[in-house]
Symmetry: C2
Subunit: 194 residues, 2 copies
């Protein structure tokens, strides 16, 4: 990778950062290209050099954020762990990642609840979270988790993590105790209790 493309990546990253922050603060409306450019310290023209359109920028940003999120979940993951320990690790990774990236959390919430979401297939969603999906499927097959579709278990867990971290951004403190109790909450939701 040469000097030019490193610099190019800098701009790209700056545009991503500016966009995610602006959308988190002011929503999809309220994030014009001119302001994105200003915040990223590039010109409007430069954005169009890297992205076909505003929609293209938002889609690529979404993939980027989701990919890094999915990766963050797997830190310290090990198939050999006790199921609950493994889930706790997953939960902690999830909450920590969302809590320390509030703009990304807000962006995801807005994106996933907007009409944009319908442009991404469930397949891609499953592919990004492949390893987590396998973990869940395994749990269902063994009667450890509730007999629900994988997607329900997955979306339920994500919804809870999102709810908890959203509350953090408006005043809730997430210490170790809170992490433990909320993890129990999420686990109890999906575990079969047989």
């Amino acid at each position: 990778m040469n000097v030019q493309s490193i610099e190019a990546d800098d701009k790209r990253a700056a545009i991503f950062t500016a966009t995610v922050e602006l959308i988190a603060e002011k929503g999809f409306h309220g994030a014009p290209m001119s302001e994105i450019a200003q915040r990223a310290k590039v010109s409007v023209g430069t954005i169009y050099h890297y992205f076909k359109s505003k929609d293209d920028l938002i889609m690529k940003l979404h993939v980027d954020i989701k990919t890094r999120f999915a990766e963050a979940l797997l830190v310290g993951d090990d198939e050999g762990m006790e199921p609950y320990q493994r889930f706790y690790n997953l939960w902690r990774n999830m909450v920590k990642h969302l809590a320390s990236n509030p703009a990304e959390r807000a962006f995801i919430s807005q994106f996933d609840n907007s009409p944009y979401e319908k442009t991404c297939g469930t397949d891609q969603h499953f592919a990004t979270f492949a390893r987590t999906v396998v973990f869940i499927q395994y749990g269902i097959d063994n009667g450890m988790l509730k007999p629900l579709p994988v997607i329900v278990i997955m979306e339920a867990t994500l919804a809870l993590a999102n709810a908890v971290t959203r509350l953090e951004s408006i005043g809730l403190t997430i210490d170790d105790e809170m992490l433990k109790t909320t993890c129990r909450m999420a686990w109890d939701a999906i575990a079969s209790h047989e």
Copy 2:
């Protein structure tokens, strides 16, 4: 109430319906006043006769939807019921209401995850769901529910109901069995299991 104001309420309701549908379909961006007017079969000017601005329209619409949602939850509610039965009733009301009003569900999701949400205080939120809040607080005080802040329990339940009904709009079938299992999911999440 005279003939004029009945007709006036018709227009108001038509504007509300058009707005909620359009925003559910195309998001906050993608719902211009001109299109709202067209769908509501009124002129643009008429909207401004009833609402100060687009923001005002959206805020008032939000209050309207949340109020009717909170009311729907209480159908058949009775303090004398067994706690789980009472929760089941609450859950069913919640899921049925959201599932049969998909546009309102989509609107709420988008609103609550957007910067608009920050303009509504938590107080108002609690006031709207007053009776439900009391039920939860009672459950916490009696050790029946997990020792978490009321708002966490409440938002967790709402998040789960939203997740489930969102999945319905993309293919999941919610029959009685699904209603029962997902209710168990939500209850297990918040119950203390002691």
